[in-house]
């Protein structure tokens, strides 16, 4: 490998300054400011238990510091942004994808076990006929709160710490105090209607003030002679017991009402007789997704048909767009051709319109009854074509749309490549009496291929997974009659995957989708590798460069 980054001599002194010079301190200040901004994020992520992400951001931060501060790492400055983005946008999702393919992540199992335990433990149940206690809140200037509860029989109860005691015990003529402190008294102020308005320094809060504090109050747990009281709704406390208790040591969940023990199994807390508690949680399932993929008759069913069409689609797309693009490029490149600029601009238009807009417009144009395409066809041939209903014509329609979307790119590429072919070669060929066709076949095409072949291979790989066009124009339709699982005649592997993962079963099945996408990755990877190997595309480029 040649040294790619060459530091111009003298640049170091000019741009970076001497250690201790202004430049150095400016750089240090900027770096400190940057660190000060990013470091809290790392800490917060760590606190939120997003360890992987915290680690990744932390390492990135360290790298940035290293690169800015260490002399030797100077060339890395140019590479690092690219590397960081590659890590964030390619490597991380890829690793995550692989991880997901070994889990049961999908509808019904999207929470972590921790979250499920939290949710189940937060569920409460009230013993039948448990009374409700309306309450009032008293708060001092310092924010200390005392609650006054009204029992169903009209008796008033008051909180001392978390304990609930009858108000009569701690205030008034018959007060007896608390068991451990017989002298304990509360100083209660009553207005002319008999309502308690103050307890000690604490003022009775209005309802709006209570509501403002409701989200704090809903976590309160009061103790009334051993009975736990919690907020049942905004206006009442009630004796509520937690429905489930998680036993960390044995990793089981116990139903406090029935005593049934639930053990975590296949992503659900499951009772001995197989009853599952909702919701389920994410868990690793080993190779289960891959096994399902390979043994499921639903998937093995229309797979072959989809597989073949995927190849035809990607191959035809490349051949057609390249042929048309090259043809137009040759015409535009002809010395006697006038108004080149104008035609070139016009021909590039399809490239400038967002692909999904074009795709949807084409879908409308291909409508059998109302579409413009069939109006023209009818005027010319007196018949209509069932564009989106017939498997064959739907494929033709798709290829036409992709031709429209793809030829400008090929044209631009070919125009550029044609410029690089030396005119002397044509002159020599002309002198040797070669016809235009021979000149094209023996000079233009081979020389063009050296620079364009890698693009053709990548275009093939791109179209192999060109979900957008398929989904927007035909949605994979028309359906294949007699398929074991819903599949369409124009489905390619990736759109078929989408159906399997998101439009079947119980909704989204990310685990299976991740497994299929890995499988597709291996297919595309192999094809691309073989392609490059046999066309020797890259090597040729290196030689010609």
């Amino acid at each position: 490998m040649p040294q790619t980054i060459v530091r111009p001599p003298g640049r170091r002194r000019v741009a970076r300054g001497l250690p201790g010079g202004w430049g150095f301190y400016t750089r240090l200040a900027a770096l400190s400011a940057f660190d000060a901004v990013v470091l809290p994020f790392v800490i917060t992520l760590f606190r939120d238990q997003e360890y992987a992400l915290a680690g990744a951001v932390g390492i990135a931060l360290l790298l940035i510091n290293f690169v800015v501060l260490v002399e030797r790492a100077y060339p890395l400055r140019y590479l690092l942004p690219g590397l960081l983005f590659m890590g964030a946008l390619v490597v991380y999702p890829a690793i995550y994808n692989i991880y997901v393919s070994f889990t049961n992540y999908g509808t019904g199992n999207i929470l972590s076990m921790q979250q499920v335990i939290q949710q189940l433990e937060a569920q409460t149940y009230a013993p039948p006929g448990a009374p409700r206690f309306p309450y009032a809140v008293f708060e001092t200037e310092q924010g200390e709160r005392t609650l006054l509860l009204t029992a169903p029989d009209g008796r008033l109860l008051v909180t001392v710490g978390h304990r609930v005691v009858p108000l009569a015990h701690v205030s008034g003529p018959e007060a007896v105090g608390l068991p451990e402190d017989p002298g304990f008294r509360l100083d209660v102020t009553v207005d002319e209607n008999g309502n308690v308005v103050r307890i000690g320094d604490a003022r009775r809060l209005e309802r709006r003030e209570v509501l403002q504090r409701l989200s704090a109050l809903q976590h309160l747990e009061l103790d009334m002679d051993g009975t736990r009281l919690r907020l049942a709704d905004a206006n009442n406390f009630q004796a509520l017991s937690p429905r489930y208790t998680y036993n960390r040591a044995e990793n089981v969940l116990v139903d406090n009402a029935t005593g049934v023990v639930y053990v975590p199994k296949d992503g659900f807390f499951t009772s001995p007789d197989g009853e599952r508690l909702l919701p389920g949680f994410r868990t690793t399932v080993g190779l289960a997704n891959y096994v399902r993929l390979l043994t499921n008759p639903a998937i093995a069913g229309p797979f072959l048909q989809v597989f073949v069409w995927t190849f035809v689609w990607a191959g035809m797309s490349v051949v057609l767009t390249f042929s048309l693009g090259l043809g137009l490029a040759l015409v535009l490149n002809h010395p006697q051709f006038k108004l080149k600029g104008l035609y070139r601009s016009l021909l590039i238009i399809p490239y400038t319109i967002p692909g999904f807009v074009s795709a949807l417009v084409w879908r409308g144009l291909f409508n059998t009854e109302f579409g413009q395409v069939n109006r023209v066809v009818q005027a010319l041939f007196g018949t209509v074509i069932p564009w989106l209903q017939d498997p064959f014509w739907a494929k033709v329609a798709l290829l036409i749309v992709n031709l429209w979307l793809g030829y400008p790119y090929m044209m631009i590429v070919c125009l550029g490549a044609l410029q690089s072919i030396s005119p002397e070669l044509y002159e020599a060929a002309y002198c040797d009496g070669a016809r235009p066709w021979q000149r094209f076949w023996h000079i233009t095409l081979p020389l063009l291929m050296t620079s364009v072949a890698p693009l053709l291979v990548s275009s093939f790989a791109y179209n192999f997974n060109n979900f957008t066009v398929i989904y927007l124009v035909t949605r994979g339709r028309p359906p294949i009659a007699g398929a074991v699982t819903p599949a369409g005649a124009t489905d390619i592997l990736i759109s078929y995957t989408y159906r399997l993962a998101f439009e079947s079963g119980r909704g989204a099945d990310y685990g299976l989708a991740a497994a299929v996408s890995l499988l597709i990755f291996f297919i595309v990877g192999t094809i691309t590798w073989l392609n490059f190997r046999f066309t020797r595309a890259f090597e040729e480029v290196e030689h010609s460069a």
């Binding site: 992400l53 994808n97 509808t107 929470l111 989200s215 919701p279 009854e369 099945d509």
Partner: protein, 400 residues
Amino acid sequence: MKSNLRFGLALLMVLALSAAALASTPGELLIWADDTRAPVMEQLGRRFEAEFGVPVKVTELGFGDIRSQLGVAGPAGEGPDLIVGAHDWLGELVVNGLIESIDLGPLAADFEQVTLDAFTWGDTLYGVPLAFESIGLIYNKALVPEPPKTWDELLAIASELTDRERGYYGFLMQMPDPYHTFPLFSATGGYVFGTNPDGTLNPLDVGLNNEGSVRGLEVFDDLIESGLLPVGTDYNTMTSLFYQGRVGMIISGPWALGGAREAGIDFGFTRIPTIDGGVPKPFVGVQGFMISAFSENKLLAEVFLKEFVINKDTYLAMFARDPRPPAYKPALDELEDNIVVQGVRESGGAGVPMPSIPEMGSVWTAWSDAIELVMNQELEPKEALDLAVEQILGLIRASR
């Protein structure tokens, strides 16, 4: 795709830590609503804030995004306290542990029963119904002065009006579209899922190829074969022709009426004609509020719903923005004379809530494919539906 989303969200979280308003925060309500409901919620929020000093923030999201984002943002601690959603999300949201049950107490008596049923999972209520909708027969009074009562009458009117050369159509419906075709199925006894003795749906009892369902698809097939119904009609084609006054009758819902009103079409909205004497039962869809399981303010959200949302004025204000009949009876009674309300009540009154169990995800594509294969004249209705049910059961069994 989802992993990117997760990562993006995490990144967003990193970047937006200061903007804590994005997430459910104790003592502050965050509502996710779609563009039609968001303005009304904002108004209510301002009143709630003025009265109780509790800030209410409303974030506007695409209706479908609310569902998908909740599954990502909720567990990450970034979600809202309250969402506006559709009842058919219920199964997914409940099995994913994303929403909280609600006890309406005596207030429940003021709601249309079908809307409460729709938001009930097992025997627990998970939402406060807002509005409901169903499809019916929308007709242009200039072309069809008196709506047909039976399917034969509909066919007679349609054949008289249809002139495809000139671009006039007696009757159009969108296709292949299970939702809009279901009334034909259900009129003669077709159903999607059968019920267990305890009233819940049984995903292994699929009735889409029973006699009634087959009869319904035959009715559809006849429309295509007789040339009354052009193959491949979609919603946009259907409505734009209807707005031009070129269509006598369509099967659609309240959402198609705004455009008709703007186009100056004098329309009627009523029940779909009976087939073989059976009344078509369209799916009833219900929108409503749900409380996030990850809310820090569950009780506060309940207060907001019970004391601010559940009243006649709110429901009427919602109706003014979005012409779906309110689920709240006092508001509904006020709107008795409204043509949309009458139509939905008449047509949807006989309807069934759209199944909300997650297994419904296996049904749509296979069902739609069956309709399409019949539409394309590739299979006979019976064959197509047998195949579809086989596919559906296969998918459901594979996912268990």
